[in-house]
Symmetry: C4
Subunit: 232 residues, 4 copies
């Protein structure tokens, strides 16, 4: 089932490796088939150089149970499920431990929009969750990881801010498509590094003013976008 | 029309990718045909791995209108036009969001000439524009981006300083030829990184003294240059 | 003798090069054959691009004498022997001068577990030895390098902490298998870099709380691990 | 003449590119034929991807005049000559603007021996020249660049310290052979970066104690060396 989607999820996982976002078996990508109520996700701890579309695991969006697949799904599956349930318009999720975005998460700092590179993709400061409580870690840890992200997004539109840092852990990004979700991980890593380098040069730098943030985000996103070619 | 120039502009755009200066569809290169009053520029938001010379867009230097091409020109086209109009001796322009040069732009800092690597290519501190005003952002933003660069160059010879940082945005470089303009982006990125590393080691370092700056810039540029081979 | 192990030790040495952990002839990997009381180790100062399995040197675990091989063993052999003698459950050792882990060793700082990437592989702060004394350096230096590591591990389980920094020198990692030992070097380098970048963003950051450290280390290691696929 | 040496000098220049030490046409390598009183050096400003052994330029060690070759020699030739004249046992010289070593030169700081990686190759702090005076820059600049290096080495053995930083400029390294000279540039760049990262972690770190410096340098160099294989 969902063979085409498995192929695309597998390919998106492999792209993380090619783009230098993951080491070893780190990282995972999933996509959701809303109509079917299913997600397709990378298996846990499988070497990338042997990964095949047929190894992708199909999991019920509602119950979290494996519907198809002989391998265990990524141990982060409950986090993905929580995000898909809360953010009803997203179609794919990427989790990586990419170097600079992870450093920001480890520092417990949110990434300010210091420039238009950031503003072209993320509409404001990239949020970081609060630290998780002892009980949230001890029981249903991976599900609770999703919950603290959702909690942090109470007043944030996940399509305007397709990225979150989990404090002490690493980033998650998403998008309406697999391509968008992977692109957002790639851009997040770049703007995280740019922001680190910016702070070394100007430790008190303030974020972009609202007008400039709006200009860049909205010329690429939303109804009056004029960047790129006209959609057919 | 201008098929040869389209080929060279396309190739220069692809070189940005090979040199690691751009991600995704970021960055754009253009060249001007002064006699014809036309510029050739990269289309907006097209994937580099499918880019073809025939997709380059021809735009009127005077009116900014598309003269030939089925795709939209780069959204930064009005910036390029403004620079070509003000800097009458330049032949090509490169815009990238390269990591370190962008960090300096985001920090709102000009790059001092800390060493002879810098002095070999840029005759003094690489300038950074002022922040743009609300009205300049809301209306004709891309044109005004060119205007703040030109304003900053009131007393600077653009051939002796073929680079500018736009505050909160990223660098532009140029040259009399496409090759020079791309080379200047590559060198700017390198000297930006060297300058960041220099400041970590010596936060109060002063720029090179004038004699040494002159020596290095002028042994490669100007009438008494003696670096490289004799021009035929 | 031990031809199969020589092949694997040679391959593990070459993997260090491919992963960018060593320059020139730096670094060395060994493995132990406990039953035979022998170790197999890289020869000293041989170029990686000409390295052959047959050049690996077989050394007595007990006496440190060369049992087979025409080349001198790595000059760090006495360090490896000391570790194999003290840590009876490890099967392989890797020594590199990888950039960031070496910077921490040079700074004489232990690497705190700032995030779950670290906690997935190392159960707490990566320890750094004390400085070696004049007499320890002048006589039996390489053996004493092993001794100061062992001294630092008096109250640490080497299987839960498969890495050590030698002050002013560089890291050693180990594992029950060659693959684990190399992987631990690779991960150590990455978490060292992440930790450096974390401190730039938050110089006073505290290590992960114990609950989160436990959660991540123990979901991948120990009897109740649930990361990856079931072992057959 | 010296066709074999030209081939090796050309190859050493190309290795700088492969190792990532140079951009564009930056950097130059030379070797000396002491018996013949000649040096062989890279031509000035020639693209590396078209460089041929036959383009190497032969220059008189005594007079600095071109003895063979149709291209101009590197503009840094007078610096090389000065070093060969003063350091009678060196056989080859490398000049690059490699990123981290150049940052130290730009910062005007000498590189302390913070670890054994450094001590394995450089016997103590890597020296940096004083700033050059106005007259030294205006007249015979490249020759005077050599002179300030030689001046700084008044009490230093160039074979024990095969590297120098020129303040505000970049590094020079040398060796008894071409291979050694290139290796020393490669290692200098690595230890410069390690030292920068060490200072970020421990801004007050002190250099290695003398005993450890001696141990590492002398186990690889000098009459009692025991690193590597026996020389035939």
């Amino acid at each position: 089932m969902l063979e085409q989607l498995k192929k695309r999820v597998c390919e998106a996982n492999l792209r993380l490796v090619r783009e230098g976002l993951v080491l070893l078996t780190w990282g995972n990508v999933s996509a959701v088939a809303r109509k079917e109520g299913l997600i397709v996700i990378k298996p846990s701890g499988v070497a990338y150089d042997e990964m095949k579309p047929g190894q992708m695991v199909v999991v019920s969006l509602k119950t979290g149970e494996v519907v198809e697949g002989t391998l265990r799904p990524s141990s982060d599956t409950p986090t993905h499920l929580e995000l898909y349930r809360a953010f009803s318009k997203i179609g794919a999720i990427v989790h990586s431990h990419s170097l600079y975005a992870t450093a920001w998460a480890q520092a417990g700092r949110e990434i300010p929009a210091f420039g238009t590179t950031h503003a072209d993709h993320f509409y404001g400061t990239v949020p970081c969750t609060r630290e998780m409580k002892q009980g949230e870690i001890e029981n249903d840890y991976e599900k609770n990881t999703g919950c603290v992200i959702v909690e942090r997004f109470k007043d944030i539109d996940p399509l305007q801010m397709p990225a979150a840092l989990v404090a002490g852990h690493a980033p998650f990004t998403w998008g309406t498509t697999l391509e968008e979700a992977v692109t957002n991980s790639l851009v997040l890593e770049r703007v995280a590094r740019m922001a680190s380098e910016t702070l070394l040069l100007n430790p008190k730098q303030r974020p972009l003013k609202k007008t400039l943030l709006d200009k860049h985000f909205l010329r690429k996103h939303g109804s009056e976008a004029y960047y790129g070619q006209k959609k057919q």
